[in-house]
């Protein structure tokens, strides 16, 4: 460990023992969240999300593709995250490092396992042609808690996405000679339409250092954190995805407490999200 984190640890732990955090938040509080939609005109759906100083842009692109053999009638979704050197002096260019891959996979899981995307409605020709959805996450400014910022930006991008019939039409019409079923699809969907979605799950991340657990860790708190837990919960308060990170541990009671807090915060964030994207 370098010298700086050990100084930070001492300082933040001392504050924590007095029930305080460096930016005057309560342990269970989030930093201000700002969601901006339609940020990228070239994308089918997009959003810029700020949690405090952390800033993330997510874009959804859609394209025609071939289905996987085991799900011939379903669309396909892929999530990728880039920790570009812009976001932090410590990020380097090159192929995604393990943190970027973990980030993309945790966001992916939150979206996939909650079945927010109605993939069965994204089939054009069963067994032959389906929609592929790409969620790309660009980290612009890194000041802690990328998990929540990235998943919230992805959700807002998905919830504002339109299936690009207009753009793909020439290609579909060409394919129609081989697959006459496309005619029906085009009749049903003559123009761009809203991406079919179910309720969104909201991810909440907590970090543990010393004997305290804080929600929405800032960068300093993340740097000294021993353990991290991300919990995605749905509208009913059910758990839809989890990820524990770092080499520290939680007790069972702590885990339960974190889940409860994640459900409460998830509710508030979901309301914010609905306010911006509409329900």
């Amino acid at each position: 460990m370098t010298i700086t984190p050990s100084i930070k640890r001492e300082y933040l732990s001392k504050l924590a023992s007095q029930g305080k955090r460096a930016d005057n938040r309560k342990f269970g509080d989030y930093r201000p969240i700002k969601i901006e939609i339609g940020y990228i005109p070239k994308a089918e759906g997009s959003a810029r999300v700020k949690i405090g100083n952390t800033q993330v842009v997510a874009g959804v692109k859609m394209d025609l593709g071939d289905p996987y053999p085991d799900t011939p009638d379903s669309g396909v979704m892929t999530t990728a995250a880039e920790m570009i050197p812009m976001a932090s002096p410590d990020f380097e260019s090159g192929p995604p490092r393990e943190d970027a891959i973990e980030l993309a996979r945790v966001v992916d899981r939150g979206i996939r396992e909650s079945e927010i995307i109605e993939v069965e409605k994204l089939c054009i020709v069963p067994g032959e042609k389906i929609w592929m959805i790409f969620i790309d996450i660009h980290i612009i400014d890194y000041d802690g808690n990328l998990f929540d910022a990235a998943s919230l930006a992805s959700l807002a991008a998905l919830m504002t996405a339109n299936v690009p019939i207009q753009r793909i039409k020439p290609m579909l019409e060409k394919l129609q000679e081989r697959y006459p079923e496309i005619g029906n699809y085009l009749k049903e969907h003559p123009d761009n339409y809203t991406l079919p979605l179910r309720e969104p799950p909201i991810s909440c991340t907590s970090a543990k250092f010393g004997n305290v657990i804080v929600m929405d860790p800032s960068l300093d708190e993340e740097e000294i954190a021993e353990a991290r837990l991300t919990v995605a919960t749905d509208e009913k308060g059910d758990i839809r995805a989890m990820q524990k990170g770092l080499n520290g541990s939680f007790t069972v009671d702590e885990i339960k407490k974190v889940i409860k807090a994640s459900i409460d915060n998830g509710k508030k964030i979901r309301e914010e999200l609905y306010k911006i994207v509409g329900k």
Partner: protein
Amino acid sequence: MKNDNIKLFRDGKRVDGRATDDLRPIKIEAGVLHRADGSCYLEWGGNKIMVAVYGPREAIPRHTQNHLRAIVNARYNMAAFSVEDRKRPGPDRRSREISKVISEALEKILLLEKFPRASIDVNIEVLNAEAGTRCAGLTAAGVALADAGIPMKDIPVACAAGKIEGQLVLDLGKEEDNYGDADLPVAISPRTGEILLLQMDGHLTFDEFEKALDMAIKGCNKVSELQKAAIIQKYKVELEVE
């Protein structure tokens, strides 16, 4: 790419209603990122560009260090969602080339000998692309370098001129870039008029080139004023005089 079905002029106006020597709308904001040493957000027509500058800091890996001066690492990158058909993330041949010519343009203007063994990293992210991203990127990089307080002789600025349907125009838009006859991106040091970057594709006569270059330089000078205004906006201090 020529296409006779597409008309790039209507009643003497360009497809987006501009006159031949009009720029697209430009918005520049300095110092928008928290972590970066200097940053700039720029909108130029439909382009949305974010630039972060880090440095001068120790150049790594070490073998890239120059013991007499700093090195400049400009990295031009397009977001996967920035274009019509999704782009695969990561550098490709086009972005590497653009990164190289931008790095070289910036090297000329920065006082690199003040920082031996250091690197100055300029990250240019294209979030939404619509013709002229390299000029927009370099222009934003100029502002971000100034915001980072890195000593330089001038704030570099870029702008393109081109030819569509036989007429010379400033700052090509999307259709003009796709179906026009020539594109001439230029970066200059506005104080001295020195040319820092010059590329061309298409077809121009020598006379046309002279006029197009003149047009591009005039465009650069207009954009330069916007750069300075953005930096003043960020750093002006209002004094209360009693």
